[in-house]
Symmetry: none
Amino acid sequence: MTDKTKTRIAEASVGLFVRKGVAQTTTKDIAAAAGIAEGTIYRHFESKEALVEHLFLSNYLPLAKTLDGIQKRAATTMRKLETIVRYLYEAYDHDPTIFRFMLITEHGATAKIPDGIATPVSVMRKVIKEGIKTGAVRRIDPQIATHLALGLILQPATAHVYGEITGPLAPRANDVVDALSRVLSA
Amino acid sequence: MTDKTKTRIAEASVGLFVRKGVAQTTTKDIAAAAGIAEGTIYRHFESKEALVEHLFLSNYLPLAKTLDGIQKRAATTMRKLETIVRYLYEAYDHDPTIFRFMLITEHGATAKIPDGIATPVSVMRKVIKEGIKTGAVRRIDPQIATHLALGLILQPATAHVYGEITGPLAPRANDVVDALSRVLSA
Amino acid sequence: MTDKTKTRIAEASVGLFVRKGVAQTTTKDIAAAAGIAEGTIYRHFESKEALVEHLFLSNYLPLAKTLDGIQKRAATTMRKLETIVRYLYEAYDHDPTIFRFMLITEHGATAKIPDGIATPVSVMRKVIKEGIKTGAVRRIDPQIATHLALGLILQPATAHVYGEITGPLAPRANDVVDALSRVLSA
Amino acid sequence: MTDKTKTRIAEASVGLFVRKGVAQTTTKDIAAAAGIAEGTIYRHFESKEALVEHLFLSNYLPLAKTLDGIQKRAATTMRKLETIVRYLYEAYDHDPTIFRFMLITEHGATAKIPDGIATPVSVMRKVIKEGIKTGAVRRIDPQIATHLALGLILQPATAHVYGEITGPLAPRANDVVDALSRVLSA
DNA sequence: GATGAATGAGCGTTCATTCAT
DNA sequence: GATGAATGAACGCTCATTCAT
């Protein structure tokens, strides 16, 4: 059996962090939302900051693995990017909270991720670099290309978080994939 | 003569907000940086929150005016977008602080802007909508198109804030303008 | 067989109390040092305070018995005091921890000892009172005489606890015994 | 005008520290006793620990100066020690609190006093060392002699703190001075 | 207008103690 | 007996805000 209380704390706190912001969420809020005593948080996490970091890394880094697996199963660069976008937007629709949390969390505020560890961003960069090598992606600085692609994917999601785009995100994937193709294709 | 002290407070606080984050910046920090007493902040701003809002709106809304002026002087949709991007990236290079502040603060603060007030985002949307009408921009949902364009423009700036892209941003404008053209052109 | 766990707790905690102070030692520290669970402490002691009291009394009161036995076997008042000092200083050198604990804890904990129970202090007082009666000790208020004697004996030990005197204490016994003789002899 | 509030905090807290112990006195207690808000403590002292240290050092170190002045005005070693004892016991009777605080505070717990700074203990040691040099004090290790003398002086005061000796301390000075003379005289 | 000492609610965190297993 | 997760009151401390000067 997995650690029930730790999970309760984690699930309750992402929700609060997304709704109210990390700084505006108190340990008291978290305890109340998780139905536990405030002190119990500290049996499972060293500090509130450690809880935030755990939440971020335990979702952000596994997502890299998932995206890498998805990417490997697709044949071409454009199919790789397409399946990644579709996966992300469907996952967002299925449980927006954790994605909102990742979108909202200031990367700089969380502990630095050691070099060499795969992140969703590094997976994207790898796909694009390989695309350039194979000629599927036009000649362009891979770093700027990565961020242009990220912009196309993340900005609609961010807009959705703040209510500027409404309804499920998945149907928007077509437009995004199309845009990716236009920006990157050779 | 404009309110000297108010300006000192404003200038000192954006710097701190960008460097340390809004929540992590105390009124004591602000007073020290501005060379004034803590209480003096409250002669010029109702609260710390009001200071943040003032800082955001007094830069964000005038930027809309500026971008609208720029946009009006350009002949075609693509030239409009190009001059906007070049203006933004040069302004970022000239004084990154205020742009970083807007990038960091944007969400949450935008909620308070009444409908009908022009924002940089609404200027972008207007340009794109007009482009669709004139046929310069391909047929696409203007809302998603606006956010695709914003993603292309803002993500490289965000990446710069977090040190993933280094050096001046202005030379990157070419790649962004090119991408905008590919995504939007009919 | 005596209560093994209780002994483990007692031994582990004196060490911690001496090294870090009673207030700075947590029940968690004690459990870790004793190799038991935190809750187990409460099977053996009603509270942390009761543990401290037990530790103090279970060493302080038996010490009175020991000193009284020693005292009884010596012929003269001065020999009584001499053997007491030598015993104390040798015991301190052999296991400073428990003596340091008594030196540190003494005040406040002594309040709980019922009248009529022999303590090291009461043994000293008895020896001195008898000395006055037999004429071995000069005429002096027995209460002040007791504390003058205690001062001569305890202050070097206290100085050793705080590192102002180093090396074994036993060789210092000569000087202390000599001083006791000078202060008390008729 | 001196800092009224800081003085109020200092005076209120020594009283509490002596009555309840440092660890058992909370910042809330101090604020209530001083008639101020809890936060105000931190306008005058960096932390509770710093308050304790300030209290200790601002009384302990000046006492060294006072004792040194007293000592210089006396002609012989024994007169020096006599006036020191009389001064201490009269000061204790006049305001026992601060003396109790110094007696109770664990020296080791407060910040280390830098070498070369005069303390009451170092003044005592100096007087005794000079006494040995002039022949007024018998040949004896100055370090042990200092602590024997300290024991004679402090133990009656400590006994008074814990109620084992009652009434004013000053009349006891005669016995202590006599004892000092017996222990130290050549 | 400016000051800065004072405020006090509320923060993140600790830890002696309890109790179901 | 032993466990260790859970508790929650209480801690030291922070900081946006106020107000007498």
